[in-house]
């Protein structure tokens, strides 16, 4: 019984607002992790999109098969044609195929009221990633439209760029938010350490009187803060993992952007970052307050 009370008392002596510290670091790490997740997913998304940027090259209605093959050869020889395993990524879509596809998608059989197929034969040409800037795509479009037998060139404009623009805005927002949270963490830890040192000032004073080095006095605080940082990292990672699984279940096709390796690296980075945040801000605070005589802490 007596022993019980004693151990309780000892714990009290080192009282320290664990929960609020861990909660704040977790929150900061969560936002940073959110930012990391966003970067990972958009990165993967742009990669996928870049692999699939293609030009639709519509041909004149009266091209002969010879001309058509000639056009294919010309397109294949261009250096902006994307290659995969030494094969140019070009495919031919006849107007019949296109019509079939269209009817399948819309459920509307236009030939019944138009009488004829208004669509054109087309080549779909994938573009190498180094030519995917808007200006370059424009000049490529003009280049191809100059080939005889080509009616029109179309491409999805600005898809990648609009992604990148939006990403920049959201990133800025998230970075700003996590910065604010980080500052809050530093201030909180600062006050926490101040209180902890104050509540243990007799202990620390005694340590100083018998000749304990300051590293000895700091060690338990630093160790604890580092541990809390890591715990916060684990919490933040768990939250992010739940969030991402929720998002995958709610948003179709998002799972395609899932990269387990990189996610693991992100989580590891959060652990390390948490440990660093805990360690650095505690180190800063403890340096500041140990320099003062402990009576000044009042």
């Amino acid at each position: 019984m007596e022993k019980d009370q004693r151990s309780k008392k000892k714990k009290k002596l080192g009282s320290y607002p664990y929960t609020s510290v861990i909660f704040s670091i977790t929150l900061a790490l969560f936002v940073i992790g959110l930012f990391g997740l966003l970067l990972l997913h958009t990165n993967r998304l742009t990669e996928l999109i870049k692999d699939n940027i293609e030009l639709q090259v519509y041909l004149d209605k009266d091209v002969t098969d010879n001309q058509r093959i000639q056009i294919q050869k010309t397109l294949s020889s261009k250096d902006y044609a994307a290659e995969k395993d030494d094969e140019v990524q070009i495919s031919f879509v006849s107007k019949e195929d296109a019509a079939e596809e269209f009817i399948k998608e819309t459920g509307e059989d236009f030939s019944s009221f138009l009488g004829e197929n208004p669509l054109r034969d087309a080549y779909v040409l994938k573009i190498a990633s180094e030519f995917q800037k808007t200006e370059k795509l424009d000049s490529i479009k003009q280049d191809i439209e100059g080939v005889s037998g080509v009616f029109e060139v179309e491409y999805e404009k600005n898809m990648v760029e609009s992604i990148n623009e939006n990403l920049a805005t959201i990133s800025l927002l998230l970075i700003g938010f996590s910065l604010i949270l980080l500052i809050a963490v530093v201030i909180l830890i600062n006050n926490t350490i101040k209180l902890a040192l104050f509540s243990q000032r007799f202990l620390i004073r005694s340590m100083q009187l018998v000749g304990a080095k300051s590293s000895f006095i700091q060690k338990p605080f630093l160790w604890r803060a580092t541990l809390h940082g890591i715990i916060s990292g684990v919490f933040a990672s768990a939250l992010l993992y739940l969030l991402i699984n929720f998002a995958y279940s709610k948003i179709n096709n998002l799972q395609k952007l899932y990269e387990p390796d990189k996610l693991l690296i992100l989580f590891l980075a959060l652990f390390i970052l948490g440990a660093l945040i805990g360690f650095m801000s505690t180190y800063r605070a403890i340096k500041k307050y140990l320099k003062m005589s402990l009576d000044e802490l009042y």
């Binding site: 004073r205 340590m207 009187l209 000749g211 304990a212 300051s214 000895f216």
Partner: protein
């Protein structure tokens, strides 16, 4: 030890400050290895400030002080712990922790001063407790001990790191005369085994009954019985 023949404490032309005013001017004295010295003077006369300056708790702003081989005037922050390990500090504001046993109190100090091996720590604890005449209190809590016993444990704690000098501020302050005599005898025994003692005290019967060198803080000056004669208690009674 490299400074074995040097005095343990050497003070030259030092001024002792308390906050921003000087309490002692032009202090000069030396304490040899193994010497026993009383420090007397009225409250607020600068006894405690002088002791605090000796273990680098108060800044030395004027003069030169050398303690246990360390120059206090320009001691580096990271040398202060090493200095204090050479001193035994027995102070009013440095009591035992009430929330742990005697052994835990001692272990705490030893861990803080770089002891690593448990068996060595145990052995040294038994040694110092025997030295202060307390054989079987290691597992007791401080509140289970009498005032005199507690003070003996405090002295044992100061002896752990084999100090070259004990700095004691009113070590018999709250004890009845009989117990104080016992504590004082303990200091004498420790002194006989070669440790210098600088003891600040109000207890004039002690000073009268056990003649030793006396330093007296008097009106901003430090008088030394080695150099001049003075009334011990002229201003008290």
């Amino acid at each position: 030890m490299s400074f074995s023949s040097d005095p343990v404490v050497r003070i030259k032309n030092a001024s002792i400050f308390q906050d921003d005013k000087t309490v002692l001017n032009d202090v000069n004295f030396e304490i040899e290895k193994g010497e026993f010295v009383f420090l007397i003077g009225r409250t607020g006369g600068g006894k405690t400030s002088l002791l605090k300056t000796l273990y680098a708790d108060l800044d030395l702003r004027l003069g030169e002080i050398n303690v246990a081989g360390y120059n206090i005037g320009n001691i580096k922050k990271n040398e202060i712990p090493l200095l204090r390990r050479k001193l035994g500090i027995i102070f009013q504001d440095f009591q035992l922790f009430p929330d742990r046993t005697v052994a835990e109190n001692l272990t705490f100090v030893m861990k803080a001063t770089g002891w690593k091996e448990n068996s060595k720590m145990k052995a040294r604890q038994t040694e110092v407790l025997m030295q202060v005449g307390l054989g079987s209190v290691a597992s007791k809590m401080p509140h289970q001990l009498s005032g005199g016993e507690q003070q003996r444990v405090v002295i044992a704690r100061a002896l752990l790191n084999e100090p070259v000098i004990l700095l004691a501020d009113e070590p018999t302050g709250n004890l009845d005369p009989e117990v104080s005599q016992g504590i004082f005898k303990l200091f004498q025994d420790i002194n006989k085994s070669g440790t210098a003692v600088l003891m600040a005290t109000h207890d004039h019967t002690l000073v009268k009954n056990y003649p030793a060198r006396v330093l007296k803080c008097d009106g901003g000056k430090l008088l030394d019985s080695k150099l001049e004669n003075f009334e011990l208690s002229a201003k008290y009674y």
